[in-house]
Symmetry: C2
Subunit: 410 residues, 2 copies
């Protein structure tokens, strides 16, 4: 079967490599023909590259070649990926993508075109790199009503937090180390500000709950404000700080979705996820909690997920898979201020005894960290609506809040 | 679509319930007709049961009804499950089973019949209950060469070990508690002796490496000999004792496969798996390590996996899925005595100084637990061929070995 790859960067070249290395194995497992990469679209030149003879610069060659039934999109970015992918689908070709930005922004539209043209649009590699997650949710857990999904969705920030937790490194030093190791880009904004995790929780929430969730609807906080002090206090309270993307079904036409640093209690399956690893927890009515763990990025892990999608396309050229993912609706994502939460709080105080008294009268079951220094007070609040919780905190005159981190219960 | 269920025990009744509860949801997700359970085969009577009008006692009614294209086998045991399932496949019906004993003993034969008749034989629920594992291995990780698979495959023994580790309970008390909680059978042999985990590692190894592994080829040790002393010493060495089933590709026609208690180091994703939870680690060349975690048993988790398989059958009535699982060959599973391993050892000694000297001269890099009582010595050996390691231990005259537990490196 002939395949075209659009974008010969890290993932695209990995796809070509995995196909070349594993073709026999793939053919045996899928009882299919081997794959033949006919074209690789990239505007750059790759002189001397093993695939040099397949490189093309004109998208129309792929679009107009009837031999190409499956197209791989590994260009990244919204444009021209969106135009190319929609053109391919409209031309009756199945498309496999690893592009989370594209799926998070346009998944509903592209799936609609795929439905109309009876072709497949697969995106396993867009979340969790090589970790099987899209297919397990859409197929293996299909007999469940999923109530909640949460995960460590970004390896770069998890590496930085791990260095802060385990090695006592500052955020800046840990970021520098991540960059030196190739885990973080020169401009790390998309990772450290949570935008990457936001795209992934949008994809997962759309898939789990059936309506598209757009990135700008999801309240997103990064990890740049996390201090070593908070890391230590949270440790003394029996937890770790992780960047968590999460979404929950509230009613048939309402969900919550948020990306923020969160206190995860030790013993949780998410607490022990270190370094660049990702983990995704899915809560179903029949199955309970399941967790999927592995490397969330990297050339070969991501490429292996793309190739598995190509195999699935090849086995289903005449049969579309339904994801039950419709367009979004207005006010579908609830205002996070109106949701109940528990908060870790670190505050400055000049009178600790008074502050503790005030906090106790605002939060009946407040838990205090006894490791706090003499001019600070650290505590966990009750579970309350976030706006109400913040109002209470603002009203406690004996403290001045320095940092707040939501506490989750996975 | 009409479905028949054979066996109305825990799982079978759960399947009927999940279908009844989730039918609309299922139809939406799979873009298919709803499922209609037409027959339930069971020799027992269920007066007053919600499905009483579907109960039948004659298997031939299912076999001879052309409306039934998918049959669910949740009877358990080898006979008559094997005869019923093979008859259904021969009659051109797809079969979904949760029966690990059947798949571990006859998977290759049944898949061969399914291949000849171009129907599907699915068994997601046979390993890990509701945890997606069979489909992720056979589809999502299909572009990987899998080198190794290991897991906590039995919830009952993991519950018992967790009680021993966390609550300092004896094996007997923990087993009693497991029985009181309904986690263990009155006769707990299949769980505590490792037979259940053995069947599951056979299924996983067959699937990952492509040739059937039969239960009697797998060296299997249970947890009945684990003492609280060992639990404590292992804790002081920075690990936990878990019942691990594992298999590894050694060459194209040789694998290792073993079930035994094992020392898992803290920090491993398997170390933090507590209570009745299961976790399965798959090591692939492209993806690295992935771990799948969740409830490995229970009515609804297992039933939800069965129903997902039914959905997949319904979507593929005309299209068989290939698992690449052939019959086994002689001497395919290596003798565990010939494999390299690291061993935790607890031994009696009357002269600790001399024992330590002897052990150090036998094992260059032996690590000693400094918590050992005055008449015992506890240590971790070098990595050596197991037969050679045992020969060395036998030859150390200053110690008398009390217990040995393999150390794994996941």
């Amino acid at each position: 079967m002939f395949v075209a790859i659009m974008g010969y960067g890290t993932v695209g070249s990995g796809v070509a490599q995995v196909i070349a290395d594993n073709n026999e194995n793939i053919a045996k497992k899928s009882a299919q023909d081997i794959f033949d990469v006919k074209y690789i679209l990239d505007l750059r030149d790759f002189p001397g590259d093993v695939n040099e003879n397949k490189m093309i610069k004109d998208f129309n060659i792929i679009l107009n070649d009837p031999q190409i039934q499956v197209v791989v999109e590994t260009m990244g970015g919204l444009h021209p990926a969106y135009e190319f992918v929609s053109s391919c689908l409209l031309a009756g070709k199945s498309v496999v993508t690893s592009n989370k930005e594209l799926v998070a922004a346009k998944g509903d539209e592209l799936l609609k075109i795929a439905r109309e043209k009876n072709v497949n649009f697969f995106f396993e590699a867009s979340v969790g790199g090589g970790i099987p997650i899209i297919r397990p949710i859409s197929q293996c857990l299909a007999a469940n009503k999923i109530s909640e999904i949460a995960g460590i969705l970004n390896g770069t920030t998890n590496f930085i937090l791990t260095m802060m937790i385990d090695k006592n490194m500052s955020f800046e030093d840990a970021l520098k180390l991540a960059q030196d190791n190739g885990y973080a880009e020169k401009d790390p904004t998309a990772d450290v500000e949570g935008f990457d995790a936001c795209r992934k929780i949008c994809i997962l929430a759309s898939l789990c709950f059936g309506k598209h969730v757009y990135p700008d609807e999801v309240h997103t906080e990064g990890i740049t404000k996390i201090s070593l002090k908070d890391v230590e206090y949270v440790k003394s309270l029996g937890g770790v700080i992780k960047l968590i993307g999460r979404a929950k079904k509230l009613s048939d036409d309402k969900i919550s979705a948020i990306v923020s640093p969160a206190v995860v209690k030790n013993g949780s399956q998410l607490a022990s996820v270190s370094d660049v690893f990702n983990a995704i927890l899915v809560r179903g009515d029949a199955v309970g909690d399941t967790v999927f763990y592995g490397k969330g990025a990297g050339k070969l892990p991501t490429a292996s997920a793309v190739v598995a999608d190509i195999m699935d396309c090849a086995a289903h050229l005449d049969k579309r898979k339904e994801f039950g993912w419709e367009s979004g609706t207005k006010n579908y994502v609830a205002d996070y201020n109106e949701l109940e939460t528990v908060m870790y709080v670190r505050a400055e105080t000049q009178n600790k005894a008074e502050a503790e008294k005030d906090i106790n009268s605002a939060f009946e079951n407040a838990v205090f960290a006894d490791t706090a220094s003499s001019d600070e007070i650290v505590f966990i609040t009750d579970c309350e609506k976030e706006s109400e919780l913040n109002r209470k905190l603002d009203n406690i005159g004996s403290i001045s809040v320095l940092s707040k981190i939501r506490v989750v219960d996975y």
